[in-house]
């Protein structure tokens, strides 16, 4: 069995960054990618706004990917395309399949840069017919931007996440009519800038507290039934209205893709749907690390690549240093938080906490608390569920922490 110092699973913006950084630290790795190209989802995200933090300029998705891929190639890092990992085992053996056959390799360390999947009609159980023309927003994006096929002429989009909003503009520019966007929540789930330049610019209506309650059309989608929802997100009887469309796009969320992670018995976080991690982005199996959208869903790619950099350093430390016993602190958030990561941190290492909140908040303070001692208070004019927030916790503060660290929102 061939063995590697480090195997990186996934060749998108997280995995590529990790591989590049590892090579710079003189660690050779093997990168395994299931598609026939590197760069992941960025290749189909042709809009711009990527790279402001990492490259200090505004790039399109494909340009951002090309920067990473060029750097990766120039470093001569080993990689396999069209290779899907089918089993990840506790002993850090990996089985993958590609056109050449089935392979089993041994890794000393592993980086999970697995990316995410889109939630589908099945996940949200929309009743009705099963005609052609029902797509996840990301598939429709790939067809349009990479293959040149437009999924419909009269399109409705369910979900106001960023991919849905970006696709509303994209379809409009491709001369399809975007009839509207519905969002079940009373607020939009996308970045505000995308609401402005993707919907308002083209007068595309956004229906808040509204969802699709039926899809009609046996051969091809013919119409959809929309209903208003109450505060419990249940459709309100007699609020239905019918809209004629020939395609429906679903932009109803991303789920970290962790089938192989769960199979390996790695402990998961039911909120992020990614693995639980410590401050080194190490999972419950020592030597297996996670980053990017496979860990938790990001809205800015620069932070995905940054996690790849952080994980590379952790892999380097794991491979080269004798492990010291960390002074562990558990991290949590109050009821306002969907999640806070890392789940466990080391008292002796400065850390950046990342979190998402449940509902939009204005003019609040985020407080960092340990026991009954307040360590830090940060005023925030606006926090949105659509945007991941970060707080840097300096080492000097961490040393005052007793056993746990808690984030609280103060109105």
């Amino acid at each position: 069995m061939k063995s590697y110092k480090c195997v990186i699973i996934g060749g998108g913006s997280a995995g590529l960054a990790a591989a590049i950084q590892l090579k710079k630290l003189n660690i050779d790795s093997l990168l395994i990618e299931k598609e026939e190209f590197l760069g992941g989802i960025l290749n189909q995200c042709i809009h711009n706004g990527f790279g402001l933090t990492r490259f200090k300029e505004e790039l399109t998705g494909p340009s951002y990917a090309e920067r990473l891929v060029s750097e990766f190639m120039a470093l001569g890092i080993e990689y396999h395309l069209e290779s899907t990992v089918i089993h990840l085992n506790k002993d850090k053996t990996i089985e993958y399949i590609n056109p050449q056959g089935v392979h089993k390799i041994q890794a000393e360390s592993i980086v999970l840069a697995l990316g995410a999947r889109e939630r589908t009609r099945g996940n949200i159980m929309i009743p009705g017919d099963r005609g052609a023309g029902i797509w996840t927003a990301g598939s429709a994006q790939k067809y349009l931007n990479m293959d040149g096929y437009c999924v419909g002429k009269k399109v409705f989009i369910l979900g106001s996440g960023d991919i849905g909003l970006i696709m509303a503009r994209r379809l409009t520019l491709a001369k399809a009519k975007v009839v509207g966007v519905a969002e079940i929540m009373p607020y939009s789930n996308g970045l505000t800038r995308n609401l402005v330049q993707c919907l308002y610019d083209f007068d595309i209506p956004l229906h808040l507290s509204t969802t699709i309650t039926r899809i009609n059309g046996n051969q091809r989608v013919e119409s959809i039934e929309l209903s208003r929802v109450d505060e419990n997100l249940k459709p309100i009887p007699n609020s239905e209205f019918i809209v004629e469309v020939d395609a429906v796009l679903l932009s109803v969320g991303l789920i970290p893709d962790n089938i192989i992670t769960e199979e390996a018995g790695i402990i998961m976080d039911p909120q992020t749907k990614g693995p639980r991690i410590n401050q080194n982005y190490e999972t419950s199996i020592p030597g297996i690390f996670a980053c990017g959208n496979g860990l938790h869903i990001h809205d800015v790619v620069d932070y995905v690549s940054e996690e790849g950099d952080v994980v590379a350093q952790s892999v380097f430390d794991y491979l080269t240093q004798s492990s010291s016993v960390p002074e562990s602190i558990n991290v949590s958030g109050d009821a306002n938080f969907i999640y806070v990561i890392p789940h466990v941190i080391d008292k002796n290492k400065a850390v950046k906490l990342k979190f998402r909140i449940r509902r939009p908040l204005k003019n609040v303070k985020v407080r960092v608390v340990s026991g009954d001692e307040v360590l830090m208070t940060l005023p925030k004019t606006q926090i949105l569920p659509a945007e991941m927030e970060m707080i840097q916790i300096p080492l000097t503060l961490l040393q005052k922490v007793k056993s746990d660290l808690r984030l609280e929102i103060i109105v």
């Binding site: 290749n43 706004g49 505004e58 340009s63 990479m146 800038r193 402005v196 610019d201």
Partner: protein
């Protein structure tokens, strides 16, 4: 005149207040200078970056993603789309190649936003 607008320059999306006093604009809420530039531009002469694709032949990929070299006038968006729809390119293309120069006499170029190799 008072305007409240969300900055679209970067994903941070600052909420900007813009007040016109005489000939002067007073800008607040922006976290960087680009926000002020955007806000004044938006209320006087709105501009957008345009990204779309053009047809390409001789490669596995069927579309080449392109981007404007600078923000274009909002009213020119569909005029440029009409021009770009008619273009057929042949691989190979290098990232940052100029696909259309000085489109609509705007002084702005249409640029390839990735490289595409020629496939046999």
């Amino acid at each position: 005149m008072k305007h409240e607008l969300t900055c679209i320059v970067c994903p941070r999306g600052c909420l900007i207040q813009l007040v016109k006093e005489g000939d002067q604009y007073i800008c607040s809420g922006n976290q960087c200078k680009r926000g002020e530039v955007y806000a004044i531009q938006e209320v006087t002469e709105p501009r957008r970056m345009l990204t779309t694709t053009v047809r390409i032949e001789g490669s596995k990929l069927k579309r080449l993603p392109v981007v404007t070299s600078k923000a274009i006038l909002k009213e020119d968006v569909f005029k440029m789309i009409d021009i770009l729809e008619k273009i057929v390119l042949y691989a190979p293309v290098q990232v940052n190649d100029v696909i259309v120069s000085n489109i609509l006499d705007s002084g702005i170029d249409i640029i390839a936003s990735r490289s595409i190799k020629k496939d046999a």
